[in-house]
Symmetry: D2
Subunit: 349 residues, 4 copies
């Protein structure tokens, strides 16, 4: 402990505080955030920049995202978790259409839910519990009523039937002629079909992520596609046709994109396979990510990949030594719209 | 939202699927959040209302907060965690001055940090690790340099000396004449002194929470004051004077306020003693809280009080059966400014 | 437990209090856990059964696991997270050899690390930070020194070179002759080669999980194999040969196993693809899981799959209505050895 | 562990790879945990020592606890959270009786629940949800039935009436004659009364923590006593008598104990006030804690005190520079019995 209290007290009496010599400490005062009626999201993000911990991380995430959305940066976007069922679909589609995403890596589940909404199905606000039922009985009732539950979001099961028809009529037949195709070929064709049906049927919900990717030549990679209803459908179709999926074929194109990128940024929502696959892409490129933003709620201390810090990725050579990276540990349904809105506001000014 | 269910049913009929009768499921489609450059925080909160999980909780929190800030509601505000060192001080002070907080329950730590900033001290952005040091060596270095660390916030230790002088010159002598006083009497006198010194010294940072409470007749309760530097200082002074603190005296006034409240709301940031003490207040009142908002990052499944759901508080009679309550499980330095800004925007419209 | 309720009722009557009629409440007193020197893990698990929250969940997990290890139950084991690098490899291999695991679903990362140890490589205890370095500089240094970090575990990078040679010499050539193979075929051949090299080189560490699976006819499914060094190696080899992997081929065998299982149990460590793929398997079987244990640290409230409760899986028909299921929310490196040791002790008695 | 590095180097040389010079990396291989039927808890803890992350932390916690229980170390034990309602009461009482705890800092809630069990009341296993009810309706029903819920533990409300009688008949009258007393005086008298009534009424559950502390001259400090039913009862009694509690009086004795301790250890279960007050105690002593173990589930990244690392406490001078400290981030109802049983086994050998 410091025994300069006597000195300090004397100096205090004079009203001139003296500061011991400090190397580690640098003068960078915390400001206090202000909350004003009518403030914009960008202004809120600036106020976060005054504050500490999570707020400061979020402010930094806005900074890095703003840099990442610059034209010269090739953005690899990893999307995991239940982001589509929980209402984040439009933001991703808009980012693709505005040219802020160059490569998308996601889960079969997100593509499944994205497609269902494109072709006229709908997710609904639900509840973890229903009036008069326990969580368990509630789920039994939902099953009886033909409704699937994802936390507090419902999906009526008939939409899976609609989705199956969609795949068997609009998507698989074209691919069948090609035999064994890459997974990206499947997602591309899915996007084309979603866009077409969405237009044709006059569906009021937008055509979504896969459609936007198709229309903007943004490849979607989905390494674990079998782990989804989309994958189950593909498998069932493969049993009675020459169609199947090559698990490795996409890695060539993805690696080339990484290889030739001037500057590369990784924007990762959630963890899991999309996160690791996005980061792993740089293992076989001479350079690594220059920018990285991670929005996740996975805890750091489990040793698992999903919560792993981006700094850890440096040891593997996945991030450049001087990369700008930040992780925001909070519910992504809150932070994702916030970070994007604030970054877009910066770019517009 | 989508009104394409007519289309779906038609399509479903063609495929031979029909929508079963459903009790549990009610038609409430998830919308997809939109992130626009220049959108206000209130508009962002509205977009959250379309989405699910954490975003939906946050949207509901804005609704309940808007109701709570109505004039007829007596608001009991619990503030725990490192909210002052991390930049949340101003928002709380502003809410007090605008009349949105009627009773404050907080920790001695928050009052300590609040006072330090009022009288000219300053917290600084720091780091969990410093260049060239491990976390442990970093903390050893900080100790040698006379700097305390709270996560990634620094507090130079000479400010504790300043604080000690402040208490011994401006606060304790008045109380000493009164002998054994209630803790609220201490916080009241502290607020008065903070306001006076802040003005007198022309400190650029605002006078803060305790000062605002003093100037607006808002009592501050601090049951665990001994667990703080403020408490340590009070103890040291008590050893050489007739001054001491009565641990129970405040509960009469607090209980009366709860008893006579027409409608009562609990706004709780963090967990701990402020949370429990705020909720407990209703145990001896005929009514309970009508509104409750909780912003916390404490996990629910530990069984601990801090992460406990507000629904659990119902079993104890702390919440009315039909209370509007919501918990948002995310970093409060992110959610607190957001919820407040959005609620204030609603009230201004 | 206490049978002093008679006394209480008497005493209550004297104080004028009576116990109201209760439907919801049933007499099931909490006991207090005892910690004794020399107690076995099974006895500790019994003590957990007296207690509440996490301890009670863990006790129930031991019960369900004991039932699951019965001969008539087909056990599908999902293994995610950094379970192999963090020392859990042997327990899984032993369970396979003892016949307690019938199907394994895991990540390419776990298979990679498992193989490295089989052929003579070694993971080492490391640190999140090193003496004299920040986390970031530490990772930069590790990269310069050719060491990868997984949280606080190190893996010298030359072992990846050893692994590459192993694959190119012992595994891929055989598969190349078969052309496009299923992923399970790859893991099978990998296990065979690991066993052989481990024996041949006299490696002191055991041959591991894949080897045990090979030697006991336990299929290993790995839907997201591309998301790993094993997958990267497979891809690189596929570029200059006829070898590739069919992403869908395994789902037929896996579905058959699920279809024909008398009783089925799911034991899931971690979340991610192994969890979802294991649970999803039951979507196309007439029955669902009768037993399910989940050991995870992923939080429930994000809406993500990894932390999702097993009850949610009921709504999808993945669990039988009357399935015995329990989740233990704690670090699996602590709970997994504990649950297994306690269950084995029960079976031995 | 493996001494196959010679083999590796040979193999590496053949492949043309060499092990670079390494400073940061030191040879410390991860072993793989083994789970054996009938193994003791101490043996399980040893197996944890092979593994990584949480398991390794737990193993280290056993080591430090073993050192702490040595006779020359003064152990300050902080107990927060719902540890008594969830079945941890007996372990703490036993540790006190065995002389392993010298000072206890806890919450009024734990003392309340401890007393209720001492005098014949009982907590019961309950459920977060009941058959046929939502969580909210369940809590409304519980309230109607007069049952309080703490996560999945029930407490019939008549026991609070029993507790009130106990305090008013056995505890407060003695204190009333002393006027304004320290909080420790209250906990001491409570312990005496609990022991007496427990014996007299032949209650089958043990007399508990406060009784053990009384009988072994272990002081119990409870800075936030007002924040509990015990505190509410004390307040109500103070309204009609000369009795009250001095909030500061205990800090003298506690500080003296810290001051004169040869070696000091802090064992902290949970976070909150007990944690901070225990660590804070060393601020006014020349030395600081030599040993510290923290068992908590509070996440680190919120900046809050409860999850704060013990390393952070070093910057404040609360831990000695060379203190042995470790935190285990997992449900304490699982880790606490485990760590204690393993440490006791070590001491017995």
């Amino acid at each position: 402990m410091s025994d300069d209290h006597a000195d300090d007290s004397a100096a205090d009496a004079e009203d001139g505080h003296h500061e011991p010599e400090r190397e580690t400490f640098s003068h960078d005062p915390i400001g206090h955030a202000e909350a004003r009626a009518g403030m914009t999201v960008g202004e809120l993000a600036d106020e976060y920049g005054n504050a500490g911990v999570g707020a400061a991380d979020l402010h930094e995430a806005v900074d890095v995202t703003e840099s990442m959305f610059d034209d010269d940066v090739t953005v690899f976007f990893g999307l995991a978790g239940a982001m589509v069922p929980t209402g984040m679909r439009r933001i991703v589609a808009d980012l693709i259409r505005e040219g802020h995403i160059d490569v998308l890596v996601t889960t079969g589940a997100n593509l499944t839910h994205d497609s269902i909404e494109a072709i006229g199905g709908k997710h609904h606000h639900g509840a973890v519990h229903a009036e008069g039922k326990t969580e368990r009985e509630h789920d039994e009732t939902l099953r009886d009523e033909g409704v699937d539950r994802i936390y507090n979001v419902y999906l009526p099961q008939e939409f899976f039937a609609t989705f199956e028809s969609h795949l068997r009529e609009e998507v698989f037949p074209t691919l069948e002629e090609e035999g064994i195709v890459s997974i990206q070929r499947l997602t591309e064709e899915l996007g084309r079909a979603n866009a077409e049906v969405n237009e044709r049927e006059g569906v009021s919900e937008g055509p979504g992520i896969a459609a936007a990717a198709y229309e903007n030549d943004v490849p979607i990679y989905c390494p674990a596609v079998q782990d989804s209803v989309l994958g189950l459908q593909a498998w069932m179709y493969s049993q009675t046709s020459d169609f199947s999926l090559d698990a490795l074929a996409d890695m060539t194109a993805l690696t080339d994109t990484a290889y030739y990128a001037e500057e590369a940024g990784a924007f990762i929502v959630g963890g899991g396979v999309p996160k690791n696959f996005t980061l792993q892409t740089m293992l076989v490129a001479p350079d690594a990510y220059d920018y990285a933003v991670q929005l996740t709620m996975d805890p750091k201390q489990t040793g698992g990949l999903s919560g792993a810090t981006l700094d850890e990725a440096r040891s593997w050579g996945k991030l450049e030594k001087d990369a700008d990276n930040v992780s925001v540990y909070a519910d992504a349904t809150i932070t994702f719209p916030l970070v994007v809105a604030a970054a877009l506001e910066r770019l517009a000014n």
